[in-house]
């Protein structure tokens, strides 16, 4: 990828996350789930990078490995120029103030035994940002910010709906005034009517606080709405990365083309006329991925070279990266 300039907030280089598989009495390692297998991209300050792909392709793992919630197997993650992979203990903990995460499941991600005030206020206390009365005031302010009644602060998570809980999660993530937030499918557990609320909230907050988002999702229309640039993942690797409009109007990788052709169009006549690319077979196992190009087993245009060499992730047009041998 191009060298990071001043505008780059996060730089991910050849990130690899393998989960070892142990078998037998002596727990010998017999293999690994190659959840993320060499992923590189930059995120610029203030932008939203969308990360899409099917379930199990390694999107969430990428997010968690960036934040060091999983320790990556290899590769580098530079945040504001600091290499996170080799940070430990206290230093890493201090970096967490600047990067936060909003989780997919608003039911599972809030500690059921803590009040909202404790959940949202705890980061302020552990990072010595505020104490006593000040924590209370900050919590009240944060709840207002996400359009929740500040008087709810003394309640417990189970007293809220899914949408409200997700907004609590957003308030919690904002508490430390981070510059970077990973949104890990923040709306896929919510009703459609609530999804718009949360998306709009995230956009408003981005404008107000100049936030940078890595937005992980499998809903292509939502990603198109919120992202500036979009990366497409397949079986642990990024196959295509481009500006949003460029990617949606002019997809180059056969997987992206298939994915986009499956997005429903709310017009029956147009929908009937278009060509849908139906992929054959299942996603191969990440324990034993295909040689060469990982997509070749399902690719409608695969040739012999695809099985031999792993395609390079190269810039075919300014700002448009593709990993495919057959794209000129």
């Amino acid at each position: 990828m191009n060298a990071g300039n001043d505008n780059t907030l996060l730089q991910v280089n050849d990130l690899v996350m393998h989960f070892p598989i142990f078998r037998g009495v002596i727990q010998r390692q017999v293999g690994a789930v190659r959840a993320v297998d060499g992923v590189s991209f930059d995120i610029r300050r203030g932008e939203t990078l969308g990360l899409v792909g099917e379930s199990g392709c390694g999107k969430s793992t990428t997010g968690r490995a960036i934040l060091q919630l999983y320790r990556p197997t290899s590769g580098a993650v530079h945040f504001e120029g600091v290499d996170l992979v080799h940070l430990k203990g206290e230093e890493l903990r201090r970096m967490r103030r600047k990067m936060q995460m909003i989780f997919q499941d608003p039911y599972a991600s809030l500690n059921p035994r803590m009040t909202i005030a404790d959940i949202v206020g705890e980061p302020l206390i552990v990072h010595n940002v505020a104490t006593g009365r000040e924590v209370e005031e900050r919590v009240q302010h944060l709840l207002e910010l996400v359009n929740l009644n500040p008087s709810f602060a003394s309640r417990y998570p189970h007293e809220f709906s899914g949408g409200q809980r997700q907004r609590i999660g957003v308030a919690r993530a904002l508490a430390l005034q981070p510059s970077f937030i990973i949104c890990d499918e923040p709306i896929s557990a919510l009703d459609v009517s609530i999804q718009a609320q949360v998306i709009n909230l995230l956009e408003e907050l981005q404008d107000e606080f100049n936030l940078t988002y890595l937005f992980i999702a499998h809903d292509l229309s939502v990603v198109r709405h919120i992202s500036d640039r979009v990366a497409v993942m397949y079986l642990g690797v990024i196959v295509e990365l481009a500006d949003r409009d460029d990617l949606y109007l002019n997809p180059l990788h056969p997987y992206t083309q298939a994915l986009l052709s499956a997005v429903p169009i709310p017009d029956p006549i147009a929908d009937a006329k278009r060509q849908r690319i139906i992929l054959k077979g299942d996603v191969p196992s990440p324990v034993n991925p295909p040689s060469g190009c990982r997509f070749r087993t399902r690719c409608p245009i695969a040739e012999s070279i695809c099985a031999e060499a792993r395609p390079e992730f190269r810039e075919v047009k300014p700002g448009h990266f593709v990993a495919c041998h057959l794209v000129k």
Binding site: Q27, Q104, S109, N111, R113, P123, V126, Y156
Partner: protein
Amino acid sequence: MTTYIIRRLLMVPVLLFGVTVLIFGMLQFLTPIQRSALYIRSEPKTDKAVEGVIRQYGLDKPLYVQYWNWLVGVVDNNGERKGGILFGDFGYSRVASQPVADLIRTRFPNTLDLTLWAVAPVILVGIWLGVQAAVHQNGIIDQAARVFSIVGTSFPTFVFGLLVLMIFYANLQWFPPGRLSDWANRVVLSDEFTRYTSLLTFDALLNGRFDIFLDALRHMFLPILTLSYINWATFLRVTRSSMLETLRMEYVTTARAKGLPERDVIFKHARPNAMIPVITLAGFQVVGLLGGVVITETVFTYPGIGQAAATAAAQLDVVTVLGFALFNGFILIVANLAVDVLYAFVDPRVRLS
């Protein structure tokens, strides 16, 4: 919270009624004259006397009359109330030749003493080990704890009890069975020793007799060891698996993402949530121990309620056994109430439901 506790309290009379009906139902398997043990000390010998007793105590009356008599007792010719479980009179143990209530009063404190000393190490060490095993999954502590617990669960109480008896009593002579040494027993039975609580270890401390306290503990050591080891195994496994499950919860990841130090993640976020099934188990174990640990008390000739119940059962003293069962039912209800209230403190979700 208050409504929740009140609702639980309202359940208590219902449960008590259920327990009494059940025990009363079982008493009906006895002949009327066997049931007279509920009211009088010795069984009448002549036919005429038998008939008189049956008539006087209504032992041939309809069930609801008998049930009522059993609850509140019957006034005899001398104007004295006989029987009446509501007044704490559970009838006579003809085998032990004393009222069942007296038998419970002398035996139960011994069992309670043993339980208190056995439960504290079980709960504290069990939880500590379980948490450590889960946090360092597949580490040395975990492997050792798993072996320790599988051995504990597979060991029958009587085998383990006999084993420690052979080692620590027969061979090493460190810890004798029974309740007290003779010299200590003489002091305890004398006038200068006040029985404040009936719990020997506590009374010994309250009387300032540290030597008697140590003697009592020495006699209790082997039963405590046996009960602890067997119960540790269960406790450790439940704590470990509950903790492992909690550590995989997303709010634990959230806590890490917030930037909490790892010990706060474990002890402030994960452990409190993992304690919910552990509390249930603790409740069951305490009740089980209080109900008298028949085998342990028998192996170590420890004069607790379990040993008394075993003796009574062996001699078909049904009234005594059912008296114990009734008493045990009360304890169970109280302990369950305690667990329910504890739940409300531990899990805010319970307070509303």
